[in-house]
Symmetry: C2
Subunit: 166 residues, 2 copies
């Protein structure tokens, strides 16, 4: 039903999730407005006014969130100027930002399945040119889906070897 805990992890009373990557990720992108700004960026939005209007947040919230996401390395701020207008900024996803796509897609697919009438959401993410819904599931090296009961958690030796627990 849940993940198998390997070796020293099997006794949960003996450890806690210190330096947890899930916690660190939520510290950076764990707000509704941050996640919806990301969604918009994947739809191609780059301009401040577009972000605020399409996410439905105030300019103040949009400015504050975008600044946080720039500082975190998720967006890069680039100047642009339309003829006759002052210089403004565009917000472009960095590689670190683009790597968040599985997070957004996982939320979307779960929301489609469990939070929409008839398990049908308004939008589908499909491959090109196939046009079939893409799947996001844990897979083994052969590419086969692994169900929850086929998964285990273990200590990462590279992390232990580094000896850093900051």
């Amino acid at each position: 039903m849940v993940l198998h805990l390997e070796g020293p992890l099997s006794d949960r009373s003996g450890w806690q999730a210190e330096s947890c990557s899930v916690a660190r990720a939520m510290d950076v992108i764990g707000s509704r407005s941050a996640m919806l700004l990301l969604r918009e960026a994947f739809y191609g939005t780059t301009r401040f006014d577009d972000f605020a209007a399409r996410v439905g947040i105030t300019d103040a919230v949009a400015a504050s969130r975008l600044k946080q996401l720039v500082n975190a390395g998720i967006f890069e701020k680039r100047p642009y100027r339309e003829p006759g207008a002052r210089t403004r900024s565009e917000y472009i996803l960095t590689e670190m930002g683009r790597d968040l796509f599985p997070v957004v897609l996982a939320l979307m697919q779960w929301g489609d399945k469990h939070l929409q009438p008839g398990s049908a959401g308004p939008l589908d993410v499909v491959d090109r040119p196939g046009g079939k819904r893409v799947d996001l599931s844990p897979r083994d090296v052969s590419g086969a889906r692994v169900p929850l009961e086929g998964l285990a958690v273990r200590v990462n030796r590279d992390w232990l070897a580094r000896g850093s627990r900051e």
Copy 2:
């Protein structure tokens, strides 16, 4: 670089993400404490005191969040009693809750790559018995990974056919 928008979606000024599944998902699980309670549930935690201690939140916050997650259908509350003690509750992931595993794994893998020194997080999720890190990427029907530039967003016909925009 970002998703291709198909058909009527290609003009972003003509639509907004109404009834968005990402937004609905974040309304339910979009807090740091909710996500860490889920992480703990996947590690096998079921009891109130364990949840509060392992997530590092107060009893009041744990009680409030767990109640929200039960009401949302993510946990089922079950009574248990140890000899000589009063009846208490366990919190067990429902199928809807277990379906959140890709969200937790996506956050973990992104945090491992971008928020840990040396891109090494403390824990790895591996397949059994293979012992290799599992991958979580968008895949087409053949099981091949699809990069961001190979993906498109389109209107879900089932959603349109339903005609419901609640």
